[in-house]
């Protein structure tokens, strides 16, 4: 298994305790699965296989179903992320106002391709479809901050704001 995992000794890991406390508050039924996965990704930063197994156990679902859901939705990731996630919006408005150029510039600047994480684990570079901030196109979201009217020229100054 070459998939990344978190600490195997679940029982002692406080992160799993936090997740279990959240699961305990859910109403019974499989419709709790997606909210639980959201919470788990919040806690762990990503959804490695052992976290999926834990969720499957706790909700009484086959691991295959959990895995099926995790891999279906873009928002869930099985790879660890960098400290900061850079999301370039590739919605139509951003696209027609030069998002492609912004992507190229970011790849040049960070030396990684879209979907990858820098070696120092500082940044993960990804794209998304439309944050609904089309009025500010092109838009780059770093963690929860939206940066509007971005150009290749402004990128360095924007990245400099992040430690």
């Amino acid at each position: 298994m070459c998939q990344p995992t978190v600490d195997k000794k679940h029982c002692d890991n406080p992160l799993f305790k936090e997740l279990d406390a959240f699961i305990a508050k859910q109403k019974p039924g499989r419709d709790a699965l997606i909210p639980v996965l959201h919470k788990a990704q919040d806690i762990f930063g990503f959804l490695p296989v052992d976290v999926q197994e834990h969720v499957a156990d706790a909700l009484g679902l086959p691991v295959s179903e959990v895995y099926g859901v995790v891999t279906f939705y873009h928002y869930f990731s099985m790879q660890p992320r960098g400290r900061h996630t850079i999301n370039v919006c590739l919605g139509t408005a951003c696209y027609v106002r030069g998002a492609k150029k912004v992507c190229e510039a970011l790849e040049d600047l960070l030396g990684v391709k879209m979907g990858e994480t820098t070696e120092d684990r500082k940044y993960s570079l990804t794209t998304q479809r439309c944050f609904g901030a089309c009025g500010l196109a092109p838009v780059v979201m770093i963690d929860d901050d939206v940066h509007g009217r971005v150009s290749a020229k402004k990128l360095k100054a924007i990245l400099d704001q992040y430690e």
Partner: protein, 1013 residues
Amino acid sequence: MKNARVQVLLCAGGSCISSGTESVRTAFERELDVAGLGSEVELITTGCMGMCEIGPIAVIYPEGIFYQKVKAEDVKDIVNEHLLKGRVVDRLFYRHPTSGELVQLIENIDFFKLQKKIALRNCGNINPTKITEYIAADGYAALGKALCEMTPERVVDEVKTSGLRGRGGAGFPTGLKWGFTAVEKSDQKYVVCNADEGDPGAFMDRSILEGDPHSVIEAMAICGYAIGADQGYVYVRAEYPLAIERLQNAINQARDMGLLGENIFSSGFNFDLEIRMGAGAFVCGEETALMHSIEGKRGEPRPKPPFPAQKGLFGKPTVLNNVETFANIPYIISAGGAEFAKLGTEKSKGTKVFALAGDINNSGLVEVPMGIALGSVVYDIGGGIPNDRPFKAVQIGGPSGGCIPKEYLNTPITYESLPELGAIMGSGGLIVMNEDTCMVDLARYFLEFITEESCGKCTPCRVGTRIMLHLVTKICNGQGTMADLDRLEELAPMICQSSLCGLGQTAPNPVLSTLRYFREEYIEHIRDKHCRAGVCGALMWAPCTNACPASVNVPAYMALVGQGRFKEALKVHMLANPFPSVCGRVCPQWCIKKCRRNDLEGPLAVRLVKRFMADQANSYMDLYPPKAAPNGHKVGVIGSGPAGLTAAYYLVLLGYDVTVFEKQDEPGGMLRYAIPDYRLPRGYVDKEIDGLVELGVTIKTGVDIGKTVTIDSLRADGFEAFFIASGSGAEIKPRIDGVDLPGVYTGIDFLEAAAKGEDVPVGKSVLVIGGGDSAIDASRIARRLGAEDVTIMYRRTRSEMPTNPIEIAEAEVEGNKVEFLANIDAIREKDGKLEVDVIKMRLGAFDTSGRRRPEPIPNYQDTRVYDNVIIAIGQRTDADDIVAGATGLKGTSWHGVEADGRTGATSAPDIFAGGDLVSGAATVVDAIQAGQIGARAVDQFIAPDASRSYPWQRLDLPDVPVDQDADIVDQDPVMTPLLSADERAYSVEVERTISADEAMREACRCLRCDYKV
């Protein structure tokens, strides 16, 4: 706080927050406190006001003073000047995008004036985090009315009466949907709100949830009452954290007040709501997929029927509506369905919210009555395209929708009219595009989107869209064939008809609609390997070269000029264009619009460098490309303008025996007789034509083809092929009285007579009619001939003027006036002067060119007196005589020659045509391209087997190294040296040549986009 003297509304919509609302709010709190206004001024943060582009926005009531782009440092002035002293801060006013006027009040901004807000009624007016503000704006009154005064059936009927249709895109009548669910018998029913706003470019649902979340909660409760459901779910995208936060806050408040929960309004009705977060899957916008997702499953759709009204969420009857649909419901219940139905058209009632984005001045959210013209949304509300660039198309309906081109700006927006044009209403994303968007690349973009978002359950969508993407990508990379287009058109309907859900069924729409309206662009990519928008990188040498009609290798000669190698630079230029001196003076420079320096401090001054470079050579003989040995074939070229001479140039280089026939006494066409001396001194025209003659082009002047000599007689003399480029030199005259009176000139005749040095009597006051280059030129010549009072009259506005804005500005510098929205109705002679009836115009509906058609304002008339009137409203072709003397050649009803502008082919196999004669009046560099096309057509006709590349196709990197690692630094562009207005005499060139130092420095600014790693 109850009696606040002033209210400051601060927009805290998602976009304004990104632009800095939070720091502005803190600054207001601080400054109000410092000024001691805390009790007099109430600060309210609201939801989205709609003008996202110019946020953060603050509106100060009671007056409604509107401030844009407010920064924390501006707040002190607003508080001290406006709130304390009553002096408004005009530097923060909104500026009208075309007139440039400052607008003070929100009610006077066109963007707001033409809107009708129902779904967005509270957005931007109340604080969305306070339920009390919603209630104060009549919130929850509709729920009270429904629960206490109406039966569930009445509620459904009211919604049916309103004619409301689903705002998520498909447009299904909401009342019917509710009715179907209401009649189902079940122990449990559900109300679901679709807030999975996945269409890229749509953000109205986000804004409603962020700006007025209670309206959705209230509507869902009303729906629950109408259909007999006690549980609702709002399915929100995970990408909208602020919307989730505000909605959750609103749900909590509503629960606390008993507006959700049990026994609401003591009516015995129970209803509660939960939020479910999406996880990034576009297909979850499809209702069955969305319900699977709420159930905790993969968001895959299932076949219908059964419809959700029968078997929906958890297998129970379910109503599923979109956010905007719900946001209309409280108004419909309060005001009555009939009131709502008064708005809109017969089948599309009420209003629709659109998210305006892309290349538009006022991007943001707008709500307009159904049936409004598309162009009115783009221009009247959206403020048009930035920098007055031409409108190309609007993309509407996202990945399921289509593009609508400029010909259809008058189309009313309804559920019926848009599908007729190959688009759909969709959720209301409306993305405006200028000519920088490549329509093939746009189709590729949407296909890429669809292939990533296809859930994979059904084959047509999963595999079919992938094949379409492969085909379109091939075309973008210049490897497409015409058969690929057929394949696309064959696949598209198959995918539409056989896919399981709406995603697949509409996935081919973006390709179909771009093929429908922009097929020519696909063909250019395939056959000419050319992307006119300069987007498809594989087809581009460099953006400037791609934009140049003549394909001049700009980066190569810039690199050489930068090293002081001027003659080598000129040699590069001569490969594609033998007129560097002429173009160095009059080229419209399409290249610099695409210059990558535009993203930095500004584009290169390409023309100034070219002009300097051309002026360094007295003779071009050793700079032309090598000439092939004579091949003995005789070719005739008709017309010695830039198109004809360029064709002759390349044909001579290929070894042909070329004779150019010119009607006038001297060669050059428009270069000599239309472009005035002060822009292009005759000496430079002579220099470049002399060079061509020295190279071997024979020019016979004074030969009017069709009169003394005909193409048929030339055929008999051994000419094997012809290129006709006789231009469009006849002036169009308006059909009004008095155009033939003495003292009335046509623009072309006036310019030609002045160029020939003939005596053209010009009085003190001159009126020039028209808005093109020749009108501006005529006005400036009139002043040079002694006129003191010169007025240019144009029937449209400045932004529609077809001429270069610099020329207008220079005419104004010299003292000429420009009067817009005016025309003449009649000219009479009176006491040796001309009496002119002037009418005022206004802009009416959009014509097929995408511009508003000017129409006279009734009952306005004004009579003025001038010494001369010059009519320069346009030119037409005059090739009837040429056609008459050429067997097999077909003319056109507008006195032209029937020809294909792309290949030059005519109805006669040995005759080709191009330039203004075919395209209508265009620029010198367009004519040079026409000459290239003509030369290639003639060559391929005479020597079909000689497969060769032509000089203008030779694009090589210069031997000038590029340091890829060097930092790019801002360098100011060189300024155009101009004579001051009082130094300008009749034949003195207004613009000057830059120095060698300046030219080299400017050339070094080139980013060398030709160089690829």
